[in-house]
């Protein structure tokens, strides 16, 4: 064959003659290396079909009138596939549920379908209990979702990419495909496959992520779950504590910050090394960062300590934990959009007690070396997915606010603050929509520059915003 790949593709596309296909067959059999090459091409062929047909179907189902698509009940008879319906009679009762699930999965690969009304998240605006927050490069295998869509009871299935959703309780979930995640209620979910990160704010404790081998019950925390194909679940706690219960043995245990355990499919549990690598791809999204220029480097938020790394051309960004409700007023140095290159331009303000915020630390510190001539400088922009409600750039306020995020004030060395103005001064600007922060930082061999960014911790739907306004009114009344 002249071009082997072309001949194989023609065969796979069903467009080769019998003689040509025979030639392909002989080539495959000639040696194992050929067979492997063929398998590689065939794999791309099949996987591409799975990816693109799922996507296309999801698009179509959004366009099609709902009544045109038969609803799927958890029973074979209602499915428009008579062959599958006949098979029902042969199934052992105990395995019927299993078969139903398998069939549901397969529907994605064979027929267009739509879940019944109450199970179709896109159709239940107002009655769901979570909101899709962000969708990043997702190839859907099930229903397609878009940002701001309300989600209720239903299943989120993706082949690749990352989805972030926020429950009305404030529970913040980031999911990376291939994954299958079922929302049972506002408090209970089921991860059959995939990688998930959960941030559970105070007040939403008790949130559950079930896996095939273990249940994870949150006790006010940030944790990650990775369910592999074998049903093996790795559970890592980034902050706080979770309770894990083996599905098989019902044995329970608590695991805390920096610990991780693995449940195998038979329910056996073992402690494992704390390794966050599998979560790295998703966590800028999980951290609420929409985009950042290349000069920013994200530092994992765990373990929770300042990791002030030195670099001449990078600004380190450290998310400081999950959303918190302020227990005392928080003083900030910048509270309004605009450009700031002198200390007298600052717009100080206090963020009131009870406000829900999330904080980040930006840090620029060039490597120490002697005989430096010109000061190092770096610039960049970062966009958060929520409005910035304040920037803390001066030493006093930085130290005061450090305790709020669980950092010890002593970890902040003196002279780590912005030096606004002057010849080698720092400049910052905050966009009109309060989401984008642009910085030009220079650090003439002092201690480094530090900015604490305080971002609105409220999420998504009007319901939550409404609650916030109500809470604001109640606070004023009680004062």
């Amino acid at each position: 064959m002249k071009d082997v790949q072309a001949a194989i593709l023609e065969h796979l596309n069903g467009e080769s003659s019998a003689a040509q296909s025979r030639e392909v067959s002989e080539w495959i059999q000639a040696n194992p290396e050929n067979a492997r090459q063929f398998a590689e091409i065939a794999l791309v062929h099949g996987q591409m079909r799975s990816m693109l047909s799922g996507k296309r179907r999801a698009q179509d189902s959004g366009v099609l009138n709902e009544s045109a698509i038969p609803p799927v009940e958890p029973d074979f008879d209602s499915r428009p596939n008579a062959k599958a319906a006949r098979r029902k009679t042969r199934l052992k009762p105990a395995l019927f549920a299993l078969a139903a699930i398998a069939a549901c999965l397969l529907i994605a690969a064979s027929i267009t379908f739509k879940r019944s009304d109450e199970q179709t998240p896109g159709q239940v605006a107002g009655s769901g209990f979570a909101t899709i927050r962000q969708v990043s490069e997702v190839v859907w295998t099930g229903e397609e979702y878009s940002p701001d869509e309300r989600v209720g009871n239903g299943i989120i299935e993706l082949d690749s990419g990352i989805v972030r959703l926020i429950f009305d309780s404030g529970v913040d979930i980031t999911l990376e495909g291939p994954a299958r995640y079922e929302l049972v209620s506002g408090e209970q979910t089921m991860l059959s496959a995939g990688v998930l990160m959960a941030n559970v704010p105070p007040g939403a404790e008790g949130f559950r992520v079930d896996t095939p081998s273990a249940r994870v019950i949150d006790l006010g925390t940030s944790f990650g779950v990775n369910v592999g194909a074998e049903g093996v679940a790795d559970i890592l706690v980034f902050d706080g504590q979770v309770e894990v219960v083996s599905s098989n043995t019902d044995s329970e245990m608590r695991i805390g910050e920096g610990e991780s355990v693995r449940f195998t499919s038979n329910g056996a549990m073992q402690k494992t090394e704390f390794n966050v690598r599998r979560f790295e791809r998703m966590w800028s999204i999980a951290s609420g960062i929409s985009s950042a220029s290349s000069s920013f480097r994200l530092t994992p938020p765990w373990p929770r300590r300042v990791r002030l790394r030195e670099s001449d051309d990078e600004i380190f960004l450290l998310p400081e934990g999950y959303v918190i409700d302020l227990e005392s007023p928080l003083a900030v140095n910048v509270s309004k959009p605009g450009e700031y290159d002198a200390t007298d331009q600052l717009t100080p303000a206090e963020i009131a007690t009870g406000e829900r915020v999330r904080t980040y630390l930006l840090h620029f510190s060039p490597e120490e070396r002697s005989g430096r001539e010109a000061p190092n400088s770096v610039s960049g922009s970062i966009t958060f997915d929520q409005p910035v409600v304040g920037l803390i750039v001066l030493q006093d306020e930085l130290v005061q606010s450090a305790s709020l995020t669980g950092l010890r004030a002593g970890e902040l060395q003196p002279r780590r603050q912005l030096e606004l103005g002057g010849e080698n001064g720092d400049r910052i600007s905050l966009s009109e929509d309060l989401r984008t922060l642009t910085v030009e930082l220079s650090s003439p061999g002092r201690g480094g520059d530090l900015i604490r960014v305080v971002v609105d911790g409220e999420h998504g739907p009007d319901g939550v915003m409404e609650r916030r306004r109500r809470r604001g009114r109640e606070n004023r009344i009680s004062e």
Binding site: Q5, L9, H11, L12, N13, G14, E15, S16, S17, A18, S21, R22, V24, S25, I28, Q29, P32, A35, R36, F38, A39, E40, I41, A42, L43, V44, H45, G46, Q47, R49, S50, M51, A84, R90, L91, A94, L95, L98, A99, A102, A103, L105, L106, S110, E137, V139, D159, S160, P178, S192, A193, P212, S213, V227, A229, E230, G231, S247, S265, N266
Partner: protein
């Protein structure tokens, strides 16, 4: 226990089904038919799931499912008389073996493919979507895009070359990490 099994099967199948479809599609070249066969494989796998060695990993499950698929493909071919597919009947075992050697990488390959697909743009992307999303044959793609069938074949062939290169370099990168 039953619930565990359900969840376990679901987890395994979620990750495996595109590879099993790939295997079926080597011989059953019509996607709709291949997907019918895939559905049968799932039915059999569910029924026989208690025979699957529960200590096995996803790789073992993929191999197990592909063996089931082989029988279902043979059943399907017996029911049809597609001359073109016949020549590959002899190769089904060899292909299954080759898939087995790829099994440990299948998940990585799928990830890599998803990433590499993002590089596909313009006409190439459109051809791929029509071929794989809509299941169009070359002649129909050509017609709908005002190209010659030869053009479409060349575009597909090139797309595969760059996708395979991209997948290989991604796998090499992962391995090097």
């Amino acid at each position: 226990m039953e619930n565990n099994q359900v969840a376990r099967f679901t987890a395994l199948w979620t990750q495996t089904q595109s590879s099993v479809l790939a295997y079926i599609a080597t011989t059953v070249t019509n996607f709709a038919d291949a997907e019918d066969v895939l559905q049968k494989v799932a039915g059999v796998a569910v029924n026989k799931f208690d025979q699957f060695d529960l200590t096995g990993d996803s790789r073992a499950f993929t191999c197990w499912a592909i063996r089931i698929a082989k029988f279902e493909v043979l059943n399907y071919l017996r029911s049809k008389s597609t001359d073109r597919a016949r020549p590959l009947i002899d190769s089904l075992d060899t292909i299954a073996d080759a898939f087995e050697t790829l099994a440990p990488q299948m998940d990585d390959r799928r990830h890599a493919l998803a990433e590499c697909m993002k590089q596909m743009q313009g006409r190439t992307k459109e051809v791929l979507v029509r071929r794989y999303g809509d299941g169009m044959k070359t002649s129909r793609i050509a017609e709908s895009m005002k190209l010659s069938p030869g053009n479409v074949s060349v575009i597909l062939n090139r797309a595969y070359k760059s996708l395979r290169n991209c997948i290989d370099s991604r796998l090499a990168m992962e391995a090097g990490q």
